[in-house]
């Protein structure tokens, strides 16, 4: 276990940082710590879409590029600092489509250079992805074009789990899509609600929702570390907190005030 500030310090400027969306256990606690550390030029990857933590990092000036299939605050509407940054041209946006991001990560997970995917052809997304290539299906005798997507290995993946044991195993229940992300990434940083005294993989009931410590570089304790996002049956989505953010972040000044209070203020008070 390391502190969350030490974890944030281990993320270098310019890293490709992969984050799950608001319904799949992003570590908002780490995103806030990254804002406090003042990280710069992150290349964020939404797996497969992006939410609250991404807008926060953009607003704080930490982000150079976003690769994602969508950036949104869900019921709270468009992501305001993302929208402003796109209008200002201050970040590079690499649009994708959800299953393509999954497939690129699965290619990295399997150690293959590419993965095919149906769909996509005729979408303008393809025009802006020179790394995605249309080929004739080599196994078909009839005309059948298909897209090949290159393997994608994020420098760092970060998510929030319920618990971790001393072997670095982490439990996140049914949110097993984070396992694929962990397998595909070079480094995996996990924040957790609490410590588990024992080995999660030795327990037949807990093992299926456990990601092996093989893939995990570091774990930090962060109570309510997904907040305002929901964490399984532990706590629910804090819609009011996100709505307040969405209103405040309509302007950079409003964002800055919010951030001083919610990101720096709490850190000082803690």
């Amino acid at each position: 276990m390391i502190t969350i500030e030490a974890m944030a310090a281990s993320v270098p400027d310019g890293a490709m940082l992969a984050l799950p969306p608001d319904n799949s256990l992003p570590s908002v606690a780490l995103a806030k710590a990254l804002v406090r550390r003042g990280v710069r030029n992150l290349r964020l990857l939404g797996v497969p879409v992006s939410g609250f933590a991404t807008d926060l990092l953009i607003g704080a000036g930490c982000v150079a590029e976003v690769q994602s299939s969508a950036v949104s605050l869900g019921e709270a509407g468009f992501a305001p600092r993302f929208s402003a940054a796109i209008r200002a041209g201050s970040i590079v946006m690499r649009d994708a489509t959800c299953p393509a991001i999954h497939a690129m990560l699965q290619a990295a997970e399997k150690g293959v250079p590419f993965m095919p995917l149906r769909g996509l052809i005729g979408s303008d997304i393809l025009l802006h992805r020179p790394d995605w290539k249309i080929v004739q299906n080599p196994l078909s005798d009839v005309p059948d074009r298909i897209v090949l997507l290159p393997a994608l290995s994020p420098d760092i993946a970060a998510f929030h789990a319920v618990m971790a044991d001393r072997d670095g195993n982490v439990w996140l229940g049914r949110r097993r899509e984070c396992a694929t992300l962990a397998h595909a990434s070079r480094r995996v940083l996990v924040t957790v609600e609490r410590f588990f005294d024992g080995n999660l993989l030795e327990d037949e009931r807990l093992a299926p929702g456990t990601i092996s410590g093989t893939y995990v570089e570091a774990v930090a304790l962060a109570e309510r570390g997904a907040h305002p996002v929901a964490l399984l049956d532990e706590y629910s989505f804090d819609a009011e907190y996100v709505a307040t953010y969405a209103r405040a972040a309509q302007t950079q000044a409003g964002f800055d005030d919010w951030c001083a209070r919610e990101v720096f203020g709490r850190a000082v008070a803690a």
């Binding site: 497969p48 209008r87 299953p99 005729g122 979408s123 074009r145 694929t180």
Partner: protein, 248 residues
Amino acid sequence: MIALEERLAVALAELILDPAAPPARHIAVGAASPIPAAACWLVAKRGHPVRLSLLHKRSGNPFTEGSRELFDLTGQGRIDLFFLGGGQIDGQANLNLLGTGAWPGGTVRFPGSFGSAFMYFMCPRTILFREEHSPRVLVDRVAHISAPGLSPPDVFRRGTAQALVTGRCVFSFDAERGRFRLQSLHPGETAAGVRAATGFDYDEATEVPGTPDPTEADLALLRGPIRAEMMETYPAFCARVFDRKAAA
């Protein structure tokens, strides 16, 4: 009083149950889609044997591999029907969820394509749904295509749009001709009014019927058991639509 959201849910339910369309045994509903979700629940609560996979359901979420499992399910051909919207929709059923102005949305940026560039190809049926019906949304040609309505024969595709439901009307989509057709008008709308509010050309009969009113039985289902099913995922929607009705 019947809320527009309730009318739309019932209109979507009728399209789901369209006997001329391939069967909808398993329907998936993606992010932030309370009206399509209500429509699916209505089909189920009327007693039709349909499986619903709600991606954003928190407790008892059926997916243990997150959204990847939804896309894989669809790739396997197990999802019969999906719903899509768009910041812009054009007359060939092309969808734009990306934005307007210079790429990637220099004038207005929409959230992004989500899974549309896959789902639209791989589902036998898609029902397009966008409440706002204006020339800004329903355009002659979308600024950017996140997912095309039609594909050439050398591109694998299981289906395309069945229909488009808006706050004013229901259009059906003829994939052979690549054109929409005005199917029914919601109360208070006229054929001329819809024509003026629509940026793309479409077909229409000389007499366009009205979209049928929800039955009392449907309204009771929506405001009772369906509201209960949806409260956890869409609390704001339920409070706004159903509780107002309950109070009225």
